[in-house]
Symmetry: D5
Subunit: 96 residues, 10 copies
Amino acid sequence: MLFKVEMIVKLPIDMPKSVADEIKSREKIYSQELQSSGKWRHIWRIAGSYANISIFDVESNAELHDILSALPLYSYMDIRVDALCRHPSSIRDNDK
Amino acid sequence: MLFKVEMIVKLPIDMPKSVADEIKSREKIYSQELQSSGKWRHIWRIAGSYANISIFDVESNAELHDILSALPLYSYMDIRVDALCRHPSSIRDNDK
Amino acid sequence: MLFKVEMIVKLPIDMPKSVADEIKSREKIYSQELQSSGKWRHIWRIAGSYANISIFDVESNAELHDILSALPLYSYMDIRVDALCRHPSSIRDNDK
Amino acid sequence: MLFKVEMIVKLPIDMPKSVADEIKSREKIYSQELQSSGKWRHIWRIAGSYANISIFDVESNAELHDILSALPLYSYMDIRVDALCRHPSSIRDNDK
Amino acid sequence: MLFKVEMIVKLPIDMPKSVADEIKSREKIYSQELQSSGKWRHIWRIAGSYANISIFDVESNAELHDILSALPLYSYMDIRVDALCRHPSSIRDNDK
Amino acid sequence: MLFKVEMIVKLPIDMPKSVADEIKSREKIYSQELQSSGKWRHIWRIAGSYANISIFDVESNAELHDILSALPLYSYMDIRVDALCRHPSSIRDNDK
Amino acid sequence: MLFKVEMIVKLPIDMPKSVADEIKSREKIYSQELQSSGKWRHIWRIAGSYANISIFDVESNAELHDILSALPLYSYMDIRVDALCRHPSSIRDNDK
Amino acid sequence: MLFKVEMIVKLPIDMPKSVADEIKSREKIYSQELQSSGKWRHIWRIAGSYANISIFDVESNAELHDILSALPLYSYMDIRVDALCRHPSSIRDNDK
Amino acid sequence: MLFKVEMIVKLPIDMPKSVADEIKSREKIYSQELQSSGKWRHIWRIAGSYANISIFDVESNAELHDILSALPLYSYMDIRVDALCRHPSSIRDNDK
Amino acid sequence: MLFKVEMIVKLPIDMPKSVADEIKSREKIYSQELQSSGKWRHIWRIAGSYANISIFDVESNAELHDILSALPLYSYMDIRVDALCRHPSSIRDNDK
């Protein structure tokens, strides 16, 4: 089941660079594990913003929430979720 | 080069069903040709809305505009475009 | 899997009362069937508005979209969907 | 008398975890007491957000305000209230 | 129990004056009956707008909805409801 | 001359309780004096919010501004003013 | 007593030019009479918009409403009113 | 050439009163010099807000920007500019 | 003196194609004359929208308004104007 | 390929002037290098705001993002990007 998730990151201006780097490093590892597992199907940067647009493929709303709320950057993000479903014009089998 | 495009369709309430069906039929053919060519990479329905979220892979802003403005439903759509680029955490080679 | 859905109905001012009544009558039957089946778990009127807040319990985003897009009033509604999940403080077993 | 209440929680980024945990712990106890009493009829998490959607069943606007303003997290919340009433299509006796 | 209700009236530009006058005439009678009964406690015009701000004193959300949805101008209004309760600084006994 | 005023209070999260209590105490005295004088005709709490809706009866815009800007909580408030006038349907003599 | 009023005019696309011209002609006469009397102190066009920003000098909210609601273009306008008062830095005696 | 400028002032809650008073004092002198020169044609307080609506009469956009960006309170303001021009109904010679 | 102008075009859905084509043809001629004269310095299409972003170089607000209000598509446009001035970092002599 | 970029700068109120000056100095050098190279085609100040409107000419979305995210002021900016393309009415060869 697919969801589009937009995440806008807002780090405090006065967060020390070392702290920010450490959180971002964990965020990257976490994201790549979920991408490898197929749960986090796509992630793109929005040009000009510290933000991304992602596609998740999960079993349920609960699994989506568990994944998002465990993001190392979760406390610093504005997140918007849209539930997706197969478009009748789609020709891709797995864009269900 | 990737773009996220959200399209919300607003057909006039009094458009005859036959007219609407004919436009939608052309829209579907047009969309599927572009999907086959790889230009229209993804299309998903937003659950509960007559709307879609799509990913386009084009050579330029101009090509994107030409594709969108030739949509049979173009006059009936609100369209929002976001330029995308590769996310540093992405592990998918073609999510450039 | 639960979703909160807000539906605001906007009938054309010049729709004949008989037409409106017929659509509303089908809407009521459709809604009550889905309530009986357990898919449409709750429906409340928002005081002072031609609008409702509903809770749906469905298998997937696709099922939610199929139910909503088949509403007799679908063409006349603005619909907003929020994916829900169990709250850690909830004491109700089935508010999963 | 039913009300839909949406609560978005915004804890200060620099609140010590022990302080946050203590407030959340009191919030949970308070919420569960009100759920047991029947006043706080439903609470759901919005997927991807530190937010909930709740249904309250109270005697009056005043009782609703007293309950909400006594929430341990009240100072950290944006709250939106909608007065509900029975929907003419509802088949549930107590969704009055 | 008190509610603040803001009503903005939007009559179709092409509604014949006689039709508009007849609806407004019924609206006035209806409003004055409810004012006399004490249900519609206050009504003020917002300067420069075809809109009013009103205070209702009703037994329940349902009674408020029944009153509002029976307004002769109801189909032509945008309505916003806020539930009120006694302010701790109030010195007026009946602004409960 | 009547004005509707909505005041939303936003105290800093880290304001000491004793400071907040002292300001609120002065606010209450100030409000009640103005209520007694007839200038501050009504004040209601908006259910679920640290906010009020008030009706002022003043000689001029200037008097309204002088009253509002002298509120002990003035620096912590978002304030919205609407000029009111008698509604043609009103039956209350003093809702001028 | 001064008020700033912004008026945005939205004529129906299909209004015959002769009808529009006749209304605008009456609007101009009406506006100039009020300017001559001193009630309508200033009127400026907003560059690029069919809109104006005006300053009115009236005895009361009621007088302002009576003036605005009698505008020949009133049914075709969105109007926003702000109550003004003398600024402590002003050096102009009559910008009271 | 005329411009309408709305300025909303937002001083930090914790700014010492002596600092705020010193800035406001310079702001007043600066404003009154520009009023005397005819550049700052009008300034009014918006009732109930720490905000003003002003009319500037300048040679160019650049002169307007130079004047505004030199305001002692500039760093603490949200500013909105609208370019004005003579209204065809205006009877005042200098409201060009 | 430079202004940025955004124009969004909204033609009525039922405007005959021949009428639309005739207006667009006049619009193009009018625009190109102004571009040739140097008044309309730039015009770009916004990708995916029936809209443009333009830069005008005019003597005054009044000249800008005269140019915009004479656009053949003026009645069908939403227009937003921003006054520009030279940026201190600019290296282009004529981006005054 | 052209993009319009709006940048609004929000420096923390308590940033020391020397720190702000150093960042702005680097920003200016960086901007002027990109202007010289032709990548940053235009930059204008928005009158009355600490903000600019710029036109970039880049090879791709990725190049645009790399340029913007390397701005010395990037952490202090709200940035909005619009993809542009040649307007059919344009007479300037390089406004592609």
